[in-house]
Symmetry: C2
Subunit: 212 residues, 2 copies
């Protein structure tokens, strides 16, 4: 899960955080607004528990899921562009988040504590991780067909037994892939006929046909 950062370091990070800067952990329930764009209040959030989505709403009111966020993921309204579309972070279930004010990171620690530097370095690592995940999404969206998008998505998320369980909904997946839902269903059927996948309700087994 966390490749670049080990768990010990993460848990130490959480402890250091409260030592060093003023942080508050907040709990959100399903479908609550965690953070939205703000040109003034720049915050970094760190998910300690649960799941959330970065959701975009354009001026016509169409919403799309930009990113999936999970435990140990970092996010910030710093990342959002000043745009016509509105971007929110919405909890997907009970979610706990630590908020860190951006400017308290930038300025030197008032307590001059040794944590501060470490804090920045860890945030740095987390940012790099986030960057990687964004790259992944760009790769996903670079796929030309729904089949390719879906296969990439599934392979990225399947377990050791090549099984992926739809925990959200097919609707949510279609939004994440930016494709039409009904077409996604049609494509799923085609892929099953082709022998690329097997499907039972919300379980999808990816049959690795691609050996070269």
């Amino acid at each position: 899960m966390i490749k670049g950062l080990d768990k010990i370091r993460i848990s130490q990070f959480k402890k250091d955080l409260s030592n060093c800067v003023n942080v508050k952990e907040k709990t959100f329930y399903n479908k609550e607004l965690i953070l939205s764009y703000s040109p003034i209040k720049k915050q970094i959030g760190f998910i300690t528990y649960g799941k959330a989505n970065i959701v975009k709403t354009d001026k016509e009111g169409n919403t799309t899921i930009m990113r999936d966020l999970k435990e140990n993921d970092i996010f910030s309204n710093l990342f959002f562009q000043d745009s016509e579309d509105e971007i929110y972070i919405i909890s997907n279930e009970e979610t706990k988040v630590i908020f860190i004010d951006y400017y308290t990171i930038l300025k030197n620690c008032p307590k001059n504590c040794s944590f501060h530097n470490k804090l920045v370095l860890t945030l740095f690592d987390l940012l790099i991780l986030d960057n990687k995940e964004q790259n992944e999404k760009i790769e996903l969206l670079s796929k030309r067909s729904v089949e390719e998008k879906l296969l990439y998505f599934l392979k990225q998320r399947m377990n050791e037994n090549h099984i992926f369980k739809v925990t959200t909904s097919y609707k949510a997946i279609s939004e994440y892939l930016f494709v039409d839902r009904s077409n996604l269903m049609r494509e799923l059927k085609k892929m099953e006929e082709k022998g690329l996948i097997e499907r039972k309700d919300k379980w999808i087994k990816i049959l690795d046909k691609e050996k070269d």
Copy 2:
């Protein structure tokens, strides 16, 4: 151009860099390999001059342009996933790059200099900027039609007079948008007929029809 970081800070950053850690500025000419994926040598690059592309090549040999990079942009092989596809950074013209070894940033500065902390903070800011640009690319790719993709792309890059000059080629743009080139040309013609744009060779004028 650089919104979050002012120019003074960037130029100070460059000076500090050479004071603090071992850096080398390298010059690349057109279409040279600047950086590729490496699980061992983790480097961060900072473009001081010129333009470059992040280019992906899949196992079938299809190449696509993942990102555009320009002066003051940051990049790193840290951002790349361990994947079947190969990712390179290629210069697009004469390009100067400062390389910083990732691990020299993480460990404390041997000289214990005050620059070190500032260095990390600036890198932090640059990473956030990069993150924003990635978000922009995700937004671009989230558009469903070629017309929408193209309009988003053009509006993002047009000057005050609503003019965009194709400095690279239409081919390169089609690769950047992950769409078929011939279709892009067709779409350009349609958009001209619709009165959305005006076009003369490599100049495109975006006519802002969208007033609500």
